[in-house]
């Protein structure tokens, strides 16, 4: 379970009784209650679809289609406690379908890669030094913008996993089921996404001069590290 997923679990417990009740009432015919069921997750839908489709108009269209599809197939939701994961899986599927239709050359971008599982030792060549940013400064727009830009630059297959795990707090198992990947693949992609983010964030936050000089000389910054 990811760090975010652990926190989310306890928060979700208190709201699940109400959610189960909503689902039962919608299934019984009170269809307008679907708005209330969807509201807590509409942001998540946007984020997840955005990790696959860049165009805002496409994102909204796919979110609308996915939401309606979820309503139509609500009877197929096997576990009422997992509505969020089920809804986001529909959103991912709809976004992938749209991307395959519009950009067929990228058809395989999200597919699993067996070789990937054994290649987990990716190390950032350079990375941000944020020790001087105290925790209470993390709500600065400057930092949020840098993270947002870095996430946008991730390869799609890493970006989707990162968003599902670290933005939406889904578990490895839920993500694996959603993307038809093994749990090992999910962990590898998440690790790489996190490390690539560190690498990508470095230039935005001015490496210390010593790191900068070593990079200019073509040195690996790890070479001076204590082993």
């Amino acid at each position: 379970m990811t760090a975010g997923a652990q926190q989310e679990t306890s928060l979700a417990d208190s709201s699940q009784t109400g959610e189960r009740d909503l689902i039962r009432r919608i299934r019984a015919g009170e269809k307008d209650l679907f708005h209330a069921l969807l509201r807590p997750y509409e942001r998540s839908m946007y984020s997840v679809i955005h990790s696959i489709l860049p165009n805002p108009a496409d994102i909204e269209e796919v979110a609308q289609e996915a939401a309606f599809k979820a309503y139509l197939h609500l009877d197929q939701l096997a576990d009422e406690e997992k509505f969020k994961a089920w809804l986001l899986r529909i959103a991912v599927n709809e976004a992938q379908t749209r991307r395959r239709r519009d950009r067929p050359q990228l058809y395989d971008a999200l597919e699993g890669d067996a070789a990937e599982e054994s290649e987990g030792d990716f190390r950032p060549r350079q990375f941000a030094d944020w020790r001087d940013w105290p925790s209470d400064s993390l709500d600065r727009e400057e930092l949020r913008t840098a993270v947002r830009d870095a996430v946008a630059k991730l390869p799609e297959k890493y970006r989707v996993v990162f968003v599902l795990a670290d933005v939406e707090s889904l578990s490895y198992e839920q993500i694996a089921a959603m993307l038809a990947l093994s749990v090992a693949n999910v962990k590898t992609r998440l690790h790489r996404a996190r490390m690539k983010l560190q690498e990508s964030l470095n230039p935005a936050f001015r490496p210390r001069m010593t790191d900068h000089l070593s990079l200019l000389k073509g040195m690996n910054p790890w070479s001076r590290a204590r082993r």
């Binding site: 379970m1 969807l38 509201r39 939401a67 987990g120 709500d139 930092l143 947002r148 998440l190």
Partner: protein, 81 residues
């Protein structure tokens, strides 16, 4: 003592607290001595905090309204349930 390479390879698992107790102790010992690995961990942890902040990935103004208007129109169609 574990190497930097081993620590970085386990960094995600360390952040997610999915490493076993023995390995966790070894990594913590390494982090106390290695500035680079502890810097990377600190930065990675801060990025996760920012990523989980609702304000980082905002939705366009009016998105929610448009979504629910679409749904209301679809739900009002006679064929659906």
């Amino acid at each position: 003592m574990v190497s930097c390479k081993a620590v970085v390879a386990e960094l995600s698992n360390f952040l997610d607290r999915t490493v076993d107790a023995e390995l966790r102790r070894k990594i913590e010992r390494h982090l106390r001595r290695c500035v680079r690995c502890s810097t990377l961990l600190d930065s990675a942890r801060k990025v996760l905090i920012i990523s989980g902040d609702d304000r980082t990935f905002e939705v366009p103004i009016g998105y929610s309204d448009r979504l629910h208007e679409y749904l209301a129109a679809k739900l009002a169609e006679p064929d659906h349930r």
